[in-house]
C-alpha cells in the first residue's frame, strides 16, 4: 500500500524509558559467545547499554505517565483528544484493549476512538498511517499515538540473538490536522509467508502457556529458549531488511516525486548499528543522516525506537532548519516494512523522560 495524506502534523512527542540500565558486559556469561566475540560484537552490533522495565510494569503504566505529563505541561487537554491508538505486541491483557485501559485513567470523552494494533518494530509507521487515516474523520480533534513494547519479559536471558539488544520503552506522539499545506507520503508492505521469522510460539490460542512451554531447550547456536520466548531468525530478517527496505524507500521517494537528497534525516527503527550502517550505505546516504546508535543507549524498543530516536536527537536535528523533511522507516515483525516521508516543523514539545518506578 502506497498513499499520501494532506495536512497532517506530529505536533509533540514524549518518550518514557525505564531507569533500569543493563550493561552487555555484565551479561556475557549468560551467552554462548566465544571470548573473542564479546568486544567485537559490542562494537559492531551496538551491544552496550539498554533500558529494561521492572517486573510488574506494563505498557499502560508508562503511557499513562507520559500522557499525564503532556496534560500537566499543558501540551494537550483531555477534551481535544479524538482517538487513542496503541501499537504494541505486549499489551497489558488480551481483553480489554490497552487503549481502553488508558482511556479509563483519564477524563476522555466517550466519543474518543480506542484502537489497539498488534505490531512491533514497524509499528510506528503503521501507527502514523492509521493516525493520519483517523484524522481525516476527526476534524480538529487530535490522536494520541502510543507505541511501545515491554519485550524484555518475552526474551530468554540466554538468547544471544535477541537478549543483548532488547529494550523497553513507550512513546506518545500527538498527531493532528494542520492548516499548513503539506503532504505526507506513506508506504507499507507485508510478507506473511515470512511471518514466523520473528515470533513467540506460546501464549496465544494456538499454543497456550503450560508448564511444558516454560521448559528451555538449546538450539543449534547454543541459545536457550522456552516456547514462551521470542524466537528471531536473525539471518533471514537481516537479509530481508537489507534487500527489501531500500527498494521500498526508493519507490516511495519516486512516488513523492522527490530526490533522496531532499530528505534531511532518515529516522529508522533501531534494530542494530550494523544493519542501519549497511542500510545507509545501500541507499547512498550519509551515515550521519541516519542515526544508528540508539540501540547502544536504550536498546531496541520495538515500536518506540523511532520516537525514542527523535526525542534523543531532538536538539541536534533542528540546528539549521525550523522545518525538516524526515523519513521514518520501520521493519521487522510481520514481516512488515514501511516508511513515511513528512514535513516536520520543530515540535512545540519533545521530551525523553524516565519512568518513576514504584520500588
Amino acid at each position: 500500500m502506497i498513499c499520501s495524506y494532506n495536512n497532517k502534523l506530529i505536533s509533540s512527542v514524549i518518550s518514557v524509558v525505564p531507569t533500569n540500565e543493563i550493561d552487555f558486559m555484565d551479561e556475557v556469561d549468560n551467552y554462548s559467545f566465544p571470548e573473542s566475540q564479546h568486544r567485537k560484537l559490542a562494537k559492531v552490533m551496538g551491544f552496550d547499554k539498554r533500558r529494561v522495565c521492572y517486573p510488574g510494569e506494563t505498557i499502560s503504566d508508562y503511557a499513562v505517565y507520559g500522557i499525564q505529563k503532556l496534560i500537566d505541561d499543558k501540551v494537550i487537554t483531555e477534551d481535544e483528544i479524538g482517538a487513542i491508538i496503541v501499537v504494541s505486541t505486549t499489551p497489558d491483557h488480551f481483553i480489554p484493549p490497552t487503549s481502553n485501559v488508558i482511556h479509563g485513567q483519564f477524563n476522555f470523552s466517550e466519543d474518543v476512538s480506542c484502537i489497539d494494533i498488534l505490531q512491533g518494530c514497524p509499528g510506528y509507521i503503521i501507527g502514523l498511517m492509521n493516525s493520519f487515516m483517523t484524522l481525516d474523520s476527526l476534524g480538529d480533534k487530535k490522536v494520541l499515538l502510543v507505541t511501545g513494547d515491554m519485550l524484555s519479559y518475552r526474551v530468554s536471558t540466554r538468547d544471544r540473538a535477541s537478549r543483548p539488544i532488547v529494550g523497553d520503552a513507550v512513546s506518545i506522539s500527538v498527531i493532528e490536522n494542520t492548516k499548513e499545506i503539506n503532504t505526507s507520503y506513506c508506504s507499507i508492505k507485508n510478507s506473511g509467508k515470512s511471518a514466523f521469522a520473528v515470533y513467540i510460539p506460546a501464549g496465544g490460542l494456538r499454543m497456550p502457556i503450560t508448564p511444558e512451554t516454560t521448559i528451555e531447550t538449546e538450539d543449534e547456536f547454543g541459545n536457550f529458549r522456552s516456547k514462551n520466548d521470542l524466537v528471531m531468525n536473525g539471518d533471514l530478517v537481516f537479509n530481508f531488511i537489507i534487500n527489501e527496505t531500500p527498494i521500498m524507500i526508493e519507490e516511495l521517494i519516486k512516488y513523492a516525486n522527490m530526490d533522496i537528497k531532499e530528505i534531511d534525516y532518515f529516522l529508522c527503527h533501531q534494530s542494530s548499528n550494523f544493519t542501519l550502517k549497511k542500510m545507509a550505505d545501500r541507499l547512498g546516504v550519509s551515515r550521519k543522516l541516519m542515526p544508528n546508535d540508539i540501540v547502544s543507549i536504550y536498546g531496541n524498543s520495538s515500536s518506540a525506537s523511532i520516537p525514542v530516536t527523535f526525542c534523543h536527537y531532538f536538539n541536534d536535528l533542528y540546528t539549521e532548519k525550523d522545518t525538516l523533511k524526515i523519513m521514518f522507516a520501520g521493519f521487522g515483525i510481520g514481516l512488515t516494512w514501511g516508511a513515511v516521508i513528512c514535513d516536520m516543523p520543530k515540535p512545540q514539545y519533545c521530551k525523553l523522560i524516565n519512568y518513576p518506578h514504584k520500588n
Partner: protein, 74 residues
C-alpha cells in the same frame, strides 16, 4: 591478501585453523555473528563497505569466497 584475511579470521576465532581447505560455515567455524564481525573488519581493513546484499554465508565460506566478495565490493 590471503594472509591478511586469514589473520583477521584467526583474530576472530583463534580456536580454528583457517588455512584448512574446508567450508567455514559447514564446519561451524563461523556463525552469523562472526560474519557480521568479519564484514566490519574487512570494511575497515580495505576501506570499503561490503553491500548488505552480499552478506550471506556462502560469500564467507572460504578465503577464496571472501576474496571474490571483496573484489566485487571494491
Amino acid at each position: 591478501m590471503k594472509e591478511e584475511i586469514i589473520a583477521i579470521l584467526t583474530e576472530l576465532r583463534p580456536e580454528f585453523d583457517f588455512t584448512e581447505d574446508v567450508n567455514y560455515i559447514e564446519q561451524g567455524m563461523l556463525d552469523s555473528f562472526d560474519i557480521v564481525s568479519l564484514v566490519d573488519s574487512l570494511d575497515e581493513k580495505y576501506n570499503i563497505s561490503i553491500s548488505g546484499l552480499d552478506i550471506i554465508p556462502e560469500n564467507f565460506s572460504s578465503v577464496e569466497a571472501i576474496i571474490r566478495t571483496l573484489e566485487k565490493n571494491k
